[in-house]
């Protein structure tokens, strides 16, 4: 990719094709920041809550990914036999 020719916000970052799953972290962070701002009654410990929710989302999606991978690798072949 020619970085000098890249125009931010107009052209996509196509090299993310290889690392697209890492975008789950900022996605989870953004959701947590906005959601926790309306969810918690007190903003004391707000950033701790945001960090916790971000981690929960990332680990939850990771766990679901592992379960689906196991099902595809072992579950479906076992069912088809």
């Amino acid at each position: 990719m020619n970085w000098l020719a890249w125009i931010p916000f107009l052209e996509p970052i196509n090299w993310f094709h290889r690392w697209w799953y890492l975008l789950l972290i900022p996605l989870s962070f953004g959701i947590s920041v906005a959601y926790k701002a309306i969810r918690v009654h007190s903003l004391k410990g707000y950033w701790w809550q945001v960090g916790l929710m971000t981690t929960q989302i990332v680990l939850g999606v990771l766990g679901l990914g592992i379960l689906v991978a196991l099902f595809v690798q072992f579950g479906i072949p076992a069912l088809s036999n």
């Binding site: 931010p8 916000f9 107009l10 052209e11 996509p12 970052i13 196509n14 993310f16 094709h17 697209w20 975008l23 900022p26 996605l27 962070f29 953004g30 959701i31 947590s32 920041v33 906005a34 959601y35 926790k36 701002a37 309306i38 918690v40 009654h41 007190s42 903003l43 004391k44 707000y46």
Partner: protein
């Protein structure tokens, strides 16, 4: 009931604030700023705009496309007028170009999918924010309230 909620807060009647809800849609976080919950308003603004701008940065303007991704746009529209402006710019600057030029400006595969998802999820979270501004909880009665909250 979660430990963070109090019976008093749940029992308190919620008044309807349509002006706050409208402001929350016009620009994320403005509804809570209007309600006097300044710190929450700034945090909401940061969160929603972080998702919106990240989506645009990763996927380009093509991440918002009313014509080709109509169902996704329904969720994205809850971001407010900024979503409509981005769609207008997409149609004017990207979609109207000749095919050969347009291929460099449109996101493909995972990049387009996750960029669209960023902005759509930002819109859906802002829908929750709009509803929270429409029927605000009286958070000022919470014993652990900080001075700059509410």
């Amino acid at each position: 009931m979660t430990p963070s909620t109090t019976p008093k807060a749940e029992a308190a009647p919620r008044s309807c604030k349509p002006a706050a809800a409208l402001m929350a849609w016009i620009f994320p976080g403005m509804g809570h700023l209007y309600l006097g919950q300044r710190r929450r308003g700034w945090l909401i603004m940061f969160g929603i705009l972080f998702l919106f701008m990240s989506g645009l940065l990763v996927g380009g303007l093509d991440a918002i496309d009313l014509k080709n991704d109509r169902l996704w746009f329904i969720a994205q529209a809850f971001n407010g007028p900024i979503a409509f402006v981005a769609d207008f710019l997409n149609q004017a600057l990207v979609q109207n170009r000749p095919e050969e030029e347009r291929l460099h400006l449109i996101g493909l595969g995972h990049v387009n999918a996750i960029a669209t998802l960023f902005i759509a999820l930002g819109g859906l979270i802002n829908l929750a924010v709009i509803l929270d501004a429409l029927y605000p909880i009286n958070r000022s009665d919470h014993p652990n309230r900080r001075s700059n909250d509410a």
